[in-house]
Amino acid sequence: MHRRLTFFLILIVTLLVQLTVSPEIGIGSVRPDVILVVTLCWALLEGAGQGALFGFFGGLLEGIFSTAVLGVGAFSKTILGYFCGELRQRVVSKSVIWPMIIIFFGSILSELIKFSAWAIVGLEERPPLSFGIIVGFALYNAVITLLVYPVISRFAEREEKAMMFQ
């Protein structure tokens, strides 16, 4: 119960930050995807199943509160959350550098998945694919991981302690 509540709270706060703060801290046309960053951090700390679930709900809510094609964001974040969670067993280091690197490449993959999905559903008004913007987006996400990862890991640790106490 406690675990679900933490999950839900983090999800709502992340959604609010994504919808309100993220557009305000954009550099040029590049804005960070806080939901993607938190999804991947959560997946690295909690595992594949949790990562997939966070990505699914985060992407779904983001889609509902925007004009994007509903389900595309959820699709990419679910897949990336799952595979990032799978990486947890392979990354031993506790350094924040690894999450940053994973989130950098995860962000690039996320955009490529989005563009592919848009192409598959035949979205007519697709933005032009710009690798410069994608790399800038990935870099921005990697940088904010420095702030997000320690916060999420603290919640995950508390969760583990609570479970141990029980």
Binding site: L16, L19, T20, V21, P23, E24, I25, G26, I27, G28, G47, A48, G49, A52, L53, F56, G59, L60, G63, I64, F65, S66, T67, V69, L70, G71, V72, A74, F75, T78, I79, Y82, A117, V121, G122, L123
Partner: protein, 290 residues
Amino acid sequence: MIERQNQRQRILIITLVIICILLVTVYSRESKDGLFHRLQRFSMDIISPLQKGMSKVFSPVKDGIGFVVDMGKARGERDRLQEEVDELEEKINELEEAERENEDLKSMIAVQESNPDIDFLVVDVIGANPDIWERTIQIGAGYSSGLQEYMAILSEDGNLVGRIILCTSQASIVQLITDEKSSVGAMLQENGEMGIVEGEGGDSVRLELLNQDADVKMGDVVITSGMGGTCPPGIPIGIITEIGERKADLSIGILIEPEARLTRLEKVMVVVSPPPSTSPLEAEAGEKGG
């Protein structure tokens, strides 16, 4: 246990992916008034007041980021403009140089036209003597170009500069009229009174008139007399700027300011014809004779 958990996770991811695909399919097939589109509009109405509030709260941050981004752009723009300014300045310098050269050539042509009996050779000045006690310059032509010692040297505007005192195959040394060892036969343009112009070692030259009672006044123009055979007659030397008191030997100290800009020579004109009639030995013997 772990195997069962993995299986559950796989089922979960497959289920979620299928839901996503269904959502995308339904969303992209439904009309603008469909359920999901209406849900999006409704959700945006709910969140928009919050977004407006946050936009106000974060406006300083946004401005700060904008400032930093603009600074980067402004630096790039500044560097680009600086390069452009440098290029334009270079072009202006080139044009000014070309204009000056054009003016010099015009004045040289004018000198040539006003002296049809004299042949000139235009030569670049390539250096000056580092010795402060000698007023000489080096020009970029020597006997291989037809030059020889004691040839007269004129400035671009046709005023007397000096004469060649040393000639090599590719270069020559020119003794300026201001050099202490220089002496040139001269006369007053006004009344033809003869004299000798001698260097003082400074920026001016001194005129020694043969007739001590000659009528001389400030501003009189002094020209070459042709005496001595090194300089053709009628070449302007300078203007009288100072007339001193008569000395014990009855001579008058007359100072002349040379017409040629001797400190800013870039090109000079060598009088190649008529050639100097005085041989080096004769000139040496009568050095003070011009």
